[in-house]
Symmetry: D3
Subunit: 151 residues, 6 copies
């Protein structure tokens, strides 16, 4: 782990092209409080990376939300009854349905890192597209729930 | 396969409790055209069941859409790079995100039939909930996509 | 116009089956203030009906929102560059996409009254379903907007 | 009020970087009809600014919608039972939920101008994220509404 | 068809009122494990009530999600830079935007308990409606974000 | 039809500005398999154009989805009970409601090509905005569906 490496701080890029970087800005490791650094360290250790992505740096202005969100994500995305790659693909399915650009980009990368192949991505998207279509056919035609589907 | 059995036609139930049953009504097997029956038969054969659920019966007023939708669902949900149970769970994840009551009910049953346990359902819902939360944190804070997430 | 007729007041129905009838309840014509009655009268005159549907009766607790919403709907849904039946179908397309049960039910009736046939409804739903599918394929695959589509 | 000042017209910026500027383009004050100018003047007077943001300039091609939308926004966002800063935050909560980039950007600025602090923004986003999560847990698990929640 | 079979009647609860009660059913206090009871106790203490609503009883089949979700809700909804009534109203705004029936019902009650008056509810809904309208006008007209709105 | 013309392949543009071009990249005609070329050819013939837009090039990595999606779109968007321009406008209404940037851009162009005037666009957007508003008022106030709206 190299907390002071360029790809963590990344400040130069931000300065260079003057892009919008989150409402409250991004907090880099070097500028972070001990409380925030502890979360960043746990993210890097858990994910075996030295990169903190913008999402966490944007949340870091609110350390309570940063900590709580990371703890929840860490707990939920851990291996369990479902493999991590399946969980990442479900995350991507939700993000595509909600049309969240940031989340689609980051979880496409996350799912691939966890083992998603191009063929798996294509099947995932086909199911996501179809589900979004039939969701509207079911509601648009006002289809009543079958008795046998009522748990 | 028993296409003329009571639980396919189910007309008595509809008469008995006078509930709303889709905008254009449901077309039962006994009342269906040859074109519609061919789709119903393929659904029953493919799914190894003698039950046609309300969704298809509601679409049957538009045979072209019934046929096209069934062919697409059949093709997409077949085993491939992803197991059918995973595909059903992705379908359920999308339906829960869109809050489609009919689809949640039917695909909960479908996913269970394909092998989803209660533990898998719980983990699925935890991921769906978390993804919906972080989707809004990412967009609400206007987080810029990391350069490394741009494919 | 018969403002005191049974199907306007409808109180007995509400009492009879004890269903939930909107957060703040429904305001019937007989119980309405002059300000609310003026809106109800305009709705009935404009739509050539003696029926006020629950939506307006629920809004009537906030006369400013009732008046503003009705004025906007009246102005927007009037004949113009688009026929009223097309406008009602667009309303239904949005409502199906958002999965708003009340709105799907009421605008299905409204569109039919304005001339929507079963064939038109079926084609409408097919387009709505397809658009919801390809919306997610486009975002899920992170497709860049073509230069020629940038106005 | 200085209707011909640079930051109202802003045409040079549009020419300089050739970005896409709304489907029908933006109508600047200097190019606007008397009807549109009257709305622009009321926006500037009401908001105590000499800046008209792109949203209104894009709507100005349809003066009836421009006028109606502004009148509705003006009426709804005025101080009442809720403070303007609370109303702006609710606007932002809806925009983040819908993932509307333009609206998140403009109402973040609007809410801050009305008094939203960084701490208030952080709490707002935490609630928005949580609500989006539990909305899906409630629907995903098909939770029945408690009798006592039926008004 | 076997109308008296176990999986149709679904146990005592199913027989009594025959409603659907969540996919995995509801876990009552008397049937709960010590771990679940601890959460139920904290909910009742924190909210000063002796009532556990269905949402928590449905989550209780997954004690980890029950605990994590409650801890998050408890932390987020506590008084801070925003009053609890404002937080409840933001929750309701999100739920109405997402059209989550359960959440609208429960948070309408929650917001009222926290002090929301009918006038506050009406203004809240007016803002929610307007924001949902202008979100689509902004995106539908492809309005570019103003430079000054880029933080 | 000129399948090898510059505006089909467009490779230079992609190289020139280094933008992100879909998760799996875009497949140009010159690089496409016979199966993909057959779909591209049918798109160009059906739409009487020599341009294949990015959406199809992004789907082309999954030829089965490319073929199925194009066949469905072709079938659904053909003239029928509804004119093609009306179908394109419904597509745009759904895309604006879902806030899909790619789809709004491409179907705005598609609808115009099919005959949508600026006046029709303005009325379309007014209806889309209004429907999105009243959808939330109906659900937010928990309005019960009128008996006469139950088909």
């Amino acid at each position: 782990m190299k907390p002071h490496s360029e790809n963590i701080t990344g400040g130069a890029v931000g300065l260079r092209d003057n892009r919008r970087m989150a409402t409250l800005g991004l907090i880099e490791y070097r500028d972070a409080s001990a409380e925030v650094r502890a979360v960043y360290d746990d993210i890097m250790t858990t994910r075996q990376t030295d990169y903190i992505n913008n999402f966490w740096k944007a949340l870091a202005h609110d350390p309570a939300t940063l900590r709580r969100t990371w703890q929840s994500v860490k707990e939920i995305m851990a291996p369990g009854a479902l493999d991590p790659v399946i969980k990442e693909m479900i995350y991507l399915a939700v993000s595509a349905t909600n049309q969240c650009g940031y989340c689609i980009a980051s979880h496409t990368v996350g799912a691939r890192k966890a083992g998603m192949t191009d063929a798996m991505l294509s099947e995932l998207m086909a199911v996501v597209g179809m589900a979004n279509e039939t969701n509207r056919l079911a509601s648009g035609y006002q289809v009543e729930i079958d008795d046998r589907f009522k748990s």
